[in-house]
């Protein structure tokens, strides 16, 4: 599945909270470049923070979309804040814990905590905190026409939701 940065939804409280995980693997080719060995420096594969942010946007986006049965086109409109305090490396699992802070017809704001599970330490450790704003595209058209079909929550998301037992929330 292309551009899916979460592997599974593991907890869901309708209209409140959604938790998803992603297993980071050295088979992901982008890690070979981030960072490749250079001169005397060895390779240092690290999950890019920009992709961690995308994972949180997908987690929080599913949560926001679920409130209206995935009928609204929910798009990421703003990264209100994103702070990272620790790297994530292959062999670790990322946990995205997203909560809706406020929501109305126009959009929603979410707060997300990112943690990693280390099989060396056998413990969750904080990675970062990400605050996002989502817009309901059809409520904010400003004269722009978008396709009727919901291109935000496509087939990939449906597969993911089925695997997590969330299909019943898709209307």
């Amino acid at each position: 599945m292309r551009w899916m940065w979460i592997d599974k939804v593991i907890a869901f409280e309708p209209e409140k909270r959604l938790v998803a995980v992603k297993n980071v693997s050295l088979a992901e080719e982008h890690l070979h470049q981030h960072f490749a060995a250079e001169g005397r420096l060895p390779a240092a594969p690290v999950m890019p923070n920009s992709l961690i942010l995308e994972g949180m946007a997908q987690t929080a986006g599913i949560l926001v979309g679920s409130v209206h049965g995935f009928r609204e086109k929910v798009v990421l409109a703003k990264v209100a804040s994103a702070t990272f305090e620790r790297d994530v490396t292959p062999g670790e699992t990322i946990r995205y814990d997203a909560t809706i802070e406020r929501m109305d017809d126009m959009g929603a704001s979410t707060v997300g905590i990112v943690e990693r599970w280390s099989f060396v330490d056998n413990a969750w450790a904080p990675v970062g905190r990400i605050e996002l704003m989502f817009s309901h595209l059809d409520q904010n058209r400003a004269g722009t026409e978008f396709p009727e079909e919901n291109f935000v929550f496509g087939e990939n998301f449906r597969t993911l939701l089925e695997g997590a037992g969330l299909k019943k929330f898709v209307s």
């Binding site: 802070e101 406020r102 017809d105 704001s109 817009s135 400003a142």
Partner: protein
């Protein structure tokens, strides 16, 4: 205890610094949200959410209805805007619904594209002050 005007101004400044990533020193009463502080469309929703959070107390929630602070619906209603100009009906509605916005010269040249430039830091403080009193 009721918040003083200084407290309100300080809290509004915090909200704008967080929502727009601007320098505290740039948040002066006359600064416009769009022109001076660089607010874009989603920022207005962000500001509304942050003001609600900042001024809500367990006893008294501070809830801003859609269009109460920023008159979004004016953009689409054809009886309120004609050929890019806000109609007399639209101006009357603005005065009634958003009294915190000083219309000034806008009444003689009510170009809809200039509407966002009317929102200043002072407008937000006036809005909050009036709403907290009610």
């Amino acid at each position: 205890m009721a918040k003083s005007r200084e407290d309100i101004e300080a809290d509004v400044r915090d909200v704008l610094v967080d929502a727009l990533g601007v320098d505290e020193d740039d948040v002066v009463p006359t600064a416009t949200l769009k022109g001076d502080l660089g607010a874009e469309s989603i920022d207005y929703l962000d500001i509304v959410f942050r003001l609600e959070k900042k001024f809500s107390t367990p006893e008294k929630p501070f809830k801003i209805a859609q269009g109460e602070l920023f008159p979004e619906n004016l953009m689409t209603d054809p009886t309120l805007v004609e050929n890019g100009k806000v109609t007399a009906k639209g101006l009357a509605l603005l005065k009634e619904k958003v009294p915190h916005v000083a219309l000034g010269g806008f009444e003689s040249d009510p170009d809809i594209t200039k509407l966002p430039t009317l929102f200043t830091v002072k407008s937000l403080c006036d809005f909050v002050e009036r709403k907290l009193k009610n």
